[in-house]
């Protein structure tokens, strides 16, 4: 392979790529903890592939973050906001009827959908907005695809009295007009991005261009565990609470660790947050489900780890959907939140060492799981989350098919990260399931939504 890159350690010295020296074996023999990986490198992934103009800003961010995480006052501030503003801890709900669709194994849902603003995104934005204040910044910028991270960022900015500008692909602003209005109601400015493919990756490009020009006053509140160091390790840190709570709750409710943890992966922030709680539990299998779009064989998908190759985009080396020339390819998914051609570098590393497994879920499989959960449990999930649910249905059935002679399916336990609620997706889903009158305004929105 000509495109492998030997990682360079944080001290500037070359460090051997741990993929080749048995990191997974070391982990399995308990020699090495995978928790709290500090970055900038995760094996040969991660790093700071950024313009020099922004290096001072990410140095400042890294320094501020490291001081803050060691400061009891900061961690208490986060804990207080999580408890009394975001609504944490989120519940762990056993889904007994949905479990019947998962081979009869026990299924527990980690209810990030019940957080304020309706998804896990609030964990990260509160943390980063507090860091922005500590750095004396008065303005935050953010990218958003479906609008969840944009709404969460606008929320944190309103709470903490920061100016907020959200970059959003022009196509997405039309599809998600109500989310644009939500952000505006919260006081944010939404800028439609008309460059390039007008999708999430182009929104990130424009946010980076804004950041270069306004870095003195502005913090870039990146919404996922990707990008240049310290973003992947920092965003994970703010989402670790998902896995910590889930581990405690499952022990309390079942007296044991789960057999598997399932999460959807776009950039991978909810997945890395819940995985982190179980990284050092070798008996717990970790599964990330990527957007398989219309099927990985069609080329219209966002299955970055499944089919991508290592490359650099938006500041990190990771798996990347790219062509033979190294040009980023356009991704496709019915879920705007998973419609991204890159993935966080820690996931790339966990995939390579075999600690976590990544599989594609098609649009059709996700929408089936969306319907099944809605009807069996009375919970409408985000379409992103529906990918994790479809994955759990597969994993549950596999576990049930692989039981010992004296075992029952209910001896197996699966946790699913229910990363977000589906209110934002009702128009898309109603269109998908043909529930709208032909001449309704919603039908028009849904038809546009289907052109993803």
């Amino acid at each position: 392979m000509t495109d492998t890159h030997q990682g360079t350690g944080p001290d500037g010295t070359g460090t051997p790529d741990p993929i080749g020296d048995g990191a997974a074996e070391a982990f399995l023999s308990h020699d090495r903890s995978l928790r709290n990986a500090p970055g900038p490198y995760f094996g040969s992934y991660g790093g700071r592939w950024m313009p020099e103009s922004l290096i001072a800003a990410i140095d400042e961010l890294q320094e501020t973050f490291e001081q803050a995480r060691a400061d009891p006052e900061f961690t208490a501030q986060i804990a207080e906001l999580n408890r009394n503003y975001a609504g944490r801890p989120s519940l762990l709900t056993e889904a007994k009827s949905f479990a019947e669709h998962c081979g009869g194994v026990r299924v527990f849902l980690k209810r990030e959908d019940l957080n304020h603003t309706g998804s896990h995104k609030i964990n990260n934005v509160l943390g980063q907005a507090l860091l922005a204040k500590r750095m004396g910044k008065t303005r935050i910028i953010a990218e958003t695809g479906a609008g969840q991270h944009g709404v969460a960022s606008a929320t944190a900015a309103a709470l903490l009295d920061l100016e907020c500008v959200v970059y959003m692909g022009a196509e997405d602003t039309r599809r998600q007009a109500l989310n644009v209005a939500r952000m505006q109601l919260l006081g944010a400015t939404v800028i439609p991005v008309t460059n390039g493919s007008q999708t999430l990756k182009d929104a990130i490009n424009d946010a980076l261009r804004d950041w270069v020009a306004n870095v003195d006053t502005t913090h870039y509140l990146l919404g996922t565990a990707a990008g240049a160091h310290p973003f992947p390790a920092m965003v994970r840190f703010f989402h670790e609470v998902i896995g910590e709570e889930a581990r405690e709750q499952i022990l309390e409710q079942t007296g044991r660790l789960p057999d598997a943890v399932c999460a959807c992966v776009g950039g991978g922030s909810n997945a890395i947050g819940i995985f982190h709680g179980f990284l050092d539990d070798p008996s717990v299998a970790l599964y990330g489900f990527e957007a398989g779009g219309e099927g990985v064989e069609t080329g219209r998908h966002a299955a970055t780890i499944t089919l991508g190759r290592p490359g650099v985009l938006h500041g990190a080396r990771s798996y990347l959907m790219q062509d033979e020339d190294g040009q980023t390819m356009e991704s496709h998914s019915i879920s705007a939140g998973l419609d991204y051609p890159g993935v966080g570098p820690e996931h790339a590393y966990l995939a390579d060492i075999g600690r976590a497994h990544y599989e594609p879920i098609t649009d059709a499989e996700a929408m089936e799981a969306f319907k099944v959960l809605s009807r069996s449990e009375g919970i409408i999930p985000a379409i992103e989350t529906a990918h994790a649910l479809a994955g759990a249905m597969k994993i549950g059935r596999r576990l049930a098919a692989d039981l010992g002679p004296d075992e029952r399916p209910s001896d197996r336990v699966v946790i699913v990260s229910l990363s977000g609620r589906g209110d934002k997706d009702v128009a898309t889903a109603a269109g998908y399931f043909d529930l709208l009158p032909d001449d309704s305004a919603e039908q028009e929105i849904a038809e546009e939504g289907e052109q993803l």
């Binding site: 360079t8 950024m50 313009p51 001072a56 460059n195 390039g196 020009a213 190294g326």
Partner: protein, 278 residues
């Protein structure tokens, strides 16, 4: 990079550096070096070669040819639109060597390639370097690669004789200035303002401070880019820098008036290069 030998006067050693030779030649003639940027494949490959030749024949000392890339985060609208069009026309990365060779065969200007890093990584750094050298290219300008991540590029064999032009910015710390100057070969690219490419009516006061800091860190050749579009700005920057880089204004000229407009603007810009005897 402790294994990477480096000397504090890397950029002063001009032996084998085509970019250094071009800048020194201008200096010897009492001029500020003029560096013109155009993207490869815009509006098509043959025209981009002709436009590059027009730069060289009308007063540019160095030619900077950009590889159109899907995610050009350091570029403003004019260059983005040109590179999007080049990609839409079917430009492929290996055609960069065709463009470089097309220009170097017919002029003696030094031709540098400006590229975001992923296309180089995808081809393989060594393979890319070898092909660039074979095409007569002088080296690479790398806007999203910092020396910290450039181990493979810094280890590219000396036999190719390629220049490594890294960027420094108003936000660059003194320590990073030092390491970046040491890692550079040919010249150091001083970003004039905190921002992306695009013509500006004035180049920030920060530009001179960046150039002075780079000189202070041992750089013999520092060229200023971002925002330059007129001979008056070239003259102003020439008072403290060794070279001036013009991009967006030339791309807009090529877009609006074709190769003749590039030639005309280059002639106009070059009237700002003579230095008054000091």
């Amino acid at each position: 990079m402790t294994t990477q030998p480096s000397s504090p006067d890397t950029t002063s050693g001009s032996s084998g550096s085509k970019a250094a030779a071009a800048i020194e030649k201008a200096r010897g003639e009492g001029r500020t070096a003029l560096i013109g940027y155009l993207p490869a494949g815009f509006p098509d490959v043959p025209t981009s070669i002709e436009a590059g030749i027009a730069l060289a024949e009308n007063g540019a000392d160095l030619i900077e040819i950009g590889i159109p890339y899907s995610d050009p985060v350091m570029d403003g609208h004019v260059i983005q639109e040109a590179t999007v069009e080049a990609l839409a026309q079917g430009f492929t990365v290996p055609q960069i060597f065709e463009v470089v060779e097309g220009i170097t065969r017919r002029t003696d200007a030094a031709v540098l390639v400006m590229t975001y890093w992923n296309p180089v990584m995808r081809m393989g750094v060594r393979a890319f370097a070898e092909r660039l050298a074979a095409a007569g290219g002088a080296g690479l300008i790398t806007p999203d690669l910092v020396p910290d991540e450039a181990a493979e590029w810094l280890e590219a064999p000396e036999e190719f004789g390629l220049d490594r032009v890294f960027l420094v910015a108003p936000s660059t710390s003194q320590k990073r200035m030092q390491t970046t100057v040491e890692a550079s070969r040919g010249f150091v690219y001083a970003v004039s303002v905190m921002g992306v490419t695009g013509a500006r009516t004035s180049v920030g006061a920060a530009a001179q401070a960046v150039v002075d800091a780079a000189h202070g860190a041992g750089a013999d050749r520092v060229c200023v880019g971002l925002g330059v579009s007129s001979s008056a700005q070239v003259r102003e920057i020439g008072a403290y820098a060794d070279g001036v880089i013009v991009g967006t204004a030339l791309v807009a000229a090529l877009r609006d008036g074709g190769v003749p407009a590039v030639a005309e603007l280059t002639r106009e810009l070059s009237t700002g290069t003579p230095r008054t005897a000091a």
